[in-house]
Subunit: 363 residues, 5 copies
Amino acid sequence: MGITDTISNTLSFLKLGESRKIFYNNPINNQLRQDVEHTYIKAYEYNEQELIEHEFASVQECARLKDSRYNVWLNIEGLKRDEIKFIAQTFGINDLVEEDISSIGHNAKMDTFENYIYCLVYMLSYNNNRFFIEQEQISIICGRKFVITFQEEHGKDAFGKLRLRLQNKDSKVRLNSIDFLFYELLDAIVDDYFYLMDKLSMRIETVEDEILNNLNKRSFAKIIFYRREMMILRRNIYPFRDIITVLMRNEDSFFNKRTLRYLKDVSDHINQAREMVENYRESISNIQDLYLNQENNKLSRSMKVTAIVTCLLAPATVIGGIFGMNFKYIPFLNNPYAFYIAIAFMLLIPVYMIYVFKKNGWF
Amino acid sequence: MGITDTISNTLSFLKLGESRKIFYNNPINNQLRQDVEHTYIKAYEYNEQELIEHEFASVQECARLKDSRYNVWLNIEGLKRDEIKFIAQTFGINDLVEEDISSIGHNAKMDTFENYIYCLVYMLSYNNNRFFIEQEQISIICGRKFVITFQEEHGKDAFGKLRLRLQNKDSKVRLNSIDFLFYELLDAIVDDYFYLMDKLSMRIETVEDEILNNLNKRSFAKIIFYRREMMILRRNIYPFRDIITVLMRNEDSFFNKRTLRYLKDVSDHINQAREMVENYRESISNIQDLYLNQENNKLSRSMKVTAIVTCLLAPATVIGGIFGMNFKYIPFLNNPYAFYIAIAFMLLIPVYMIYVFKKNGWF
Amino acid sequence: MGITDTISNTLSFLKLGESRKIFYNNPINNQLRQDVEHTYIKAYEYNEQELIEHEFASVQECARLKDSRYNVWLNIEGLKRDEIKFIAQTFGINDLVEEDISSIGHNAKMDTFENYIYCLVYMLSYNNNRFFIEQEQISIICGRKFVITFQEEHGKDAFGKLRLRLQNKDSKVRLNSIDFLFYELLDAIVDDYFYLMDKLSMRIETVEDEILNNLNKRSFAKIIFYRREMMILRRNIYPFRDIITVLMRNEDSFFNKRTLRYLKDVSDHINQAREMVENYRESISNIQDLYLNQENNKLSRSMKVTAIVTCLLAPATVIGGIFGMNFKYIPFLNNPYAFYIAIAFMLLIPVYMIYVFKKNGWF
Amino acid sequence: MGITDTISNTLSFLKLGESRKIFYNNPINNQLRQDVEHTYIKAYEYNEQELIEHEFASVQECARLKDSRYNVWLNIEGLKRDEIKFIAQTFGINDLVEEDISSIGHNAKMDTFENYIYCLVYMLSYNNNRFFIEQEQISIICGRKFVITFQEEHGKDAFGKLRLRLQNKDSKVRLNSIDFLFYELLDAIVDDYFYLMDKLSMRIETVEDEILNNLNKRSFAKIIFYRREMMILRRNIYPFRDIITVLMRNEDSFFNKRTLRYLKDVSDHINQAREMVENYRESISNIQDLYLNQENNKLSRSMKVTAIVTCLLAPATVIGGIFGMNFKYIPFLNNPYAFYIAIAFMLLIPVYMIYVFKKNGWF
Amino acid sequence: MGITDTISNTLSFLKLGESRKIFYNNPINNQLRQDVEHTYIKAYEYNEQELIEHEFASVQECARLKDSRYNVWLNIEGLKRDEIKFIAQTFGINDLVEEDISSIGHNAKMDTFENYIYCLVYMLSYNNNRFFIEQEQISIICGRKFVITFQEEHGKDAFGKLRLRLQNKDSKVRLNSIDFLFYELLDAIVDDYFYLMDKLSMRIETVEDEILNNLNKRSFAKIIFYRREMMILRRNIYPFRDIITVLMRNEDSFFNKRTLRYLKDVSDHINQAREMVENYRESISNIQDLYLNQENNKLSRSMKVTAIVTCLLAPATVIGGIFGMNFKYIPFLNNPYAFYIAIAFMLLIPVYMIYVFKKNGWF
Ligand SMILES: [Mg+2]
Ligand SMILES: [Mg+2]
Ligand SMILES: [Mg+2]
Ligand SMILES: [Mg+2]
Ligand SMILES: [Mg+2]
Ligand SMILES: [Mg+2]
Ligand SMILES: [Mg+2]
Ligand SMILES: [Mg+2]
Ligand SMILES: [Mg+2]
Ligand SMILES: [Mg+2]
Ligand SMILES: [Mg+2]
Ligand SMILES: [Mg+2]
Ligand SMILES: [Mg+2]
Ligand SMILES: [Mg+2]
Ligand SMILES: [Mg+2]
Ligand SMILES: [Mg+2]
Ligand SMILES: [Mg+2]
Ligand SMILES: [Mg+2]
Ligand SMILES: [Mg+2]
Ligand SMILES: [Mg+2]
Ligand SMILES: [Mg+2]
Ligand SMILES: [Mg+2]
Ligand SMILES: [Mg+2]
Ligand SMILES: [Mg+2]
Ligand SMILES: [Mg+2]
Ligand SMILES: [Mg+2]
Ligand SMILES: [Mg+2]
Ligand SMILES: [Mg+2]
Ligand SMILES: [Mg+2]
Ligand SMILES: [Mg+2]
Ligand SMILES: [Mg+2]
């Protein structure tokens, strides 16, 4: 990672203000959610033997999935209010959930209904060009025979590997009931948190190296920037943990016992993520202290230079001033050694001064 | 937002002391509550089919609402002790509630009685002229068939949109029982918190930009000012959350199951508000660190300038002093190159000094 | 509040060490409690119809109150170990309570016994002459038909208004059983906390103004002083809250249901007091930050002055030094414009230096 | 307390490192516990009527106390592994307890067994010569008819007054069962904590006075030192509190109801101790802030002196330099008032500079 | 510990980045776990009478241990995925456990299954050459009749003393059931934490001494470094404590009552470790404060030197400048005492200045 990169990073942060999104998580702005122009609708019907993939042009085509004899995963990328409403009505989803799906900046949350669980969480990824965390809201509805996922944006999600496993007849997701697919989705999202943290940890180390090597003046702004990124991570990890904790209580027995063991594994991971974030935060705080101490040392050295040079300068100034005066009667003026004696004093006095100051521990 | 604005903001804070209100939330001052001259009394009687609006000249006229066969919302703007007493006696409200309604600066609170719930909360709005948070106390009494609201001031409240919905025959508030109206009131108050935070977040960003661009000297006072505003927000959000939590337990079954789902939605929002405030606080603390670091850098640079110039100056002073003395016998005085050699030393020595200091990492 | 006042305030704090009392809350010093010379014993016998006031010369005279058919409030001001023992034995009070009554600096506390409740709390008042919080220990014993209060000192307490209400036949305290008197005592003590906080908040604002206007050098000592006062407040408010919480559980049913509602009101107030203290603490911490930032700015400006003047000075010193040397062969000496050129350099070089430094953001 | 004392205090801390003991509370070092050369074994057999004191030469002689018909207090000062083992086997004490008795630096703890309670706590005292807290580990085993105490060292403990009370036929300890003796031991240990805190509080005030009066340069080291002492206090008080809390639950009914009231009294005291320590910590932190602010002020003043003197100096240097040059053609040189005008400028310019800087709030 | 050591320590930290491992505890990197080339497999079959030691060339040979009539301890050093899978299948271990065993950087954790307990913890040791904490992951599976341990690395573990005790027929581990072996393993790991803390505490003291004696410039970097080491310790100690707490609940009765007492002993130790770490952290924070204060003092002294020397210098510069001017008419030039008077002023004025500044408390 070159210096140019890190500078452009800082600049992007300073100029483009991407990270300021944190200021706009405002539920009253629901009405501001713009419908996307086009949504991408895909569905998987699967059981142990078969897997059928669909690509739908309109949500109306999804209606018949409701009564499928397979396990169904319906994935919709891009949000249109009408489509959400249609799906909600078809699958019997509460209108408050409908509202949450199209909300902006909602905290990660979970609600349990009689026939389904609703989860709103965020997929996090690292924007490698502009060096900040990107959040994509995802809503997951897990019914008794179907899972529906609504993604904010098309083109990127955390489920690539899962789709491959779905193709594989012997994968656990095929051999288990629909709750296992739900687990797999959560697991994939959490896994991505770790990829993200990996990236961030490398960048934090880069800042640390820059500070240790005194390379770059914007280090402090970067430290502040990473403190903010950590804030975003925490905002996602902590409520996610609460969600998993509630899910594991399994009060409405959505999960069979085997899947619960796997949920415990996600729980372990999210706990680890939480601790890593706390470690990063402490690291960043250490780095900040290191930086501030270094700055302080520089200050201290400037002062010391000034003090020493002032001492060195002093006697010469004084003696030079004295014997440079134009009085008529000045002693020693005619003394042939006077010049050399004056020079000697000019040299010895500062040496003595510094000696005294040093002895008294003043430097 | 121009600089003039932000300056006048700061000045208003410094001079007018509006934000100091925080010091006067003093329950012993109950007797200080001045009766307003005129109160504005409006009532709505409604059910699924009908909506009847009333404007009353005196509280006495409200008495008959007690036995209305409609759902009743009685809204009183401006507080007069006699009127509060009359209403309390008419509707069978405890005298401690009466006292709370006319109290000043009470914490947000809730009490459950046999036949009604009492809530005291604050409506917050942002004063766009003088740049600070305005609080208006509101008391809400929710009985089995009526809701009574007492507002501190006339002319502004959070319920504009709700009144429009009331006109609409198909709105949920019309189709549901009185507890839904109670939910709508709380929801409207919380929604306003978000409008307020939106405003504040923009102003915090303005300060941040000012600091990053080094524009304004009063930045620190503003940071402190926003820390105080956040304090006010927290003081309202945290007890509000406690109120909602208790309401959701629904121990006295004031709410039907459907309304509880909506209360959960308010709860989600208030949780989000809480988290946003914590984020803002962390942002403000980041901005403060940024500011302090910048100030420190400036200090550091001043010292460095002093140190460097002192070094540059030193040899010229010394050499000039030496050969400016009026001794009779000074070597080299008659040497035709002496002047140039002296000049050379005057130039070379500081260069060497700075080189040595730099090499030793002293600058 | 004039400057003279605030200075004398600070000085009283610095010299007289009143606030240091905090260091002497030492239970092992029980034996150090000196008996007062004279105690003031007053009693009230009352019911709905009658009120009989007594002033007793000796505790022995109180004995017969034990079997009074009235509600009894016995108030003793000034502590004598023998008298406490006599009262304890007469009314059947445990010897550990006896010890607590005569203790010094005990934390606020409550103990429940079979036939009575024992509370030790502090009345707080603000000493307007010497500007600090005064604490007076008070022990309250609430039995089934009597309340006994032991005050540390005579001449001042929180119960003035309560005595007036007792005279009033229609006051709630007369119409209710003895537990209501107990509530009234606690309420009066808490009310005084608010009077005190009012005083303190004004003084904190005074310090804030002094800092904003740069008036006074001892500001920091005052900030520290108010931090301590807040510590005293917290030490009293937090355990008081615990006491109220335990009382409200009403495990031994000392309180009838109606009084419990009133206890809830005290609880609201003490919660508010708690929050106000936390707000003051945050305010003080803000003020401290403001002060430190101001100090830092002053420092910064001194350095900048030094740096700028050093720059302005530098070329004149150097050029003056050069052409003040007494070498025989110095160029330009005879040049008629040389002087003006030298002056020009003396002026231009510092301007250029400052320009360069400014451009590079060094000032 | 003279300055000499406080200096020697600091030096003892800096040189002898007594306080560093805190680093060696290491349970794996059990094997490092050296047997003392001689142990001092005393026992008391007592009931309401009689008190028999024993001094034993060897532990073997204690064996018969096991079946004494009196209450027995066996006190052993100095630890020998063999003796501990003998006592443990005689009185039926678990080998893990045996290990704990001879452990070093164990946290204060309590274990309940079927027939006895085991407590490990620390007696704290203040070393008046070398100014630091001394800890002595004490193990207390409280059986149904006996109490055994193992002290780490001979010659000093907290039980002097208790021994006197034991002599007194009418003292509570004689009139009650063995659990009351156990209470008395704990109470005596806690009482000593207060003596210690008294000493510490005086020393903290001394440091405060030194700082306020600017007397001593090692103040900061002392502040740090007292922060450490507070750490030691906390390490003992907090687990002690947990022990008392568990004891008061009285799950195995070791205590009769009357003794429980007294335990509550110890609990009150330990709570007070806890709060005092927190107050001291806050005081120390205040003092530290005060000190740092003072240091900062000194720094600020040095800078201001430099800035002002530099200003005063500047014009004289410049003007003197200008008219001290040896150019042939210098205007005004022959003007008879030129000298006075130059002097005037030398005086007026710095006055003006300081005026301008002051007006702009730069000083 | 010489300075060279501590420098090389710091350098190793700065250059080799060993301690940065903390950034790589990433569960998604499971696939990165490289199989070791060779694993070392040892087993012990034992009961009260017999002890049989095995060294196996391949895991297949372990299969028959499953049905051993002895207690079995199977210890595998070095991780190969195939071998883990084989063991897991042979002993009926869940595949999630299998995954955890081969994970990297997992938090310490515990899972209870029907027939066994699974623990993942870390053995910590101090690398004496490169001065940092080394972590080795260890998985412990405790069944009804067997214990299996998987170590990350061969050649070093915490169980040396335990192996010796196993040889000893009369040792508790031989006399008890398999749960006691499990306790012994945990105990041995915790004991090593104390050895480690011993080392660290010595090194922290070294840094403290360096700071007090002003020896070394990299002190701050070291302080930061030890703060990190403490972070590693905490990361292991806190979850370990949670594990022990859950084990002690003994919900599946894996432990007999006697072993539970011993687990309580481990619990005591881990609590002590926890507290020691908190103490170290506070110590480090104290040391950091001490260091920063010292640095500040140095800065302060430099400024004071500059201020004093500037004062001393000032009058000589001014007076010298004045009478060094070449005006024709300068008063006193011909006065024979003028020179001495000038010198006198040069001496007296700075003395007076310093006197004035000192009196006003400016130095
Ligand atoms: Mg921003
Ligand atoms: Mg939103
Ligand atoms: Mg997507
Ligand atoms: Mg996975
Ligand atoms: Mg995973
Ligand atoms: Mg796992
Ligand atoms: Mg104010
Ligand atoms: Mg209004
Ligand atoms: Mg709404
Ligand atoms: Mg809403
Ligand atoms: Mg919602
Ligand atoms: Mg004091
Ligand atoms: Mg007190
Ligand atoms: Mg009184
Ligand atoms: Mg009150
Ligand atoms: Mg009242
Ligand atoms: Mg009230
Ligand atoms: Mg600061
Ligand atoms: Mg030490
Ligand atoms: Mg110890
Ligand atoms: Mg002893
Ligand atoms: Mg006692
Ligand atoms: Mg005591
Ligand atoms: Mg007591
Ligand atoms: Mg690193
Ligand atoms: Mg690891
Ligand atoms: Mg190993
Ligand atoms: Mg062991
Ligand atoms: Mg151990
Ligand atoms: Mg033990
Ligand atoms: Mg500083």
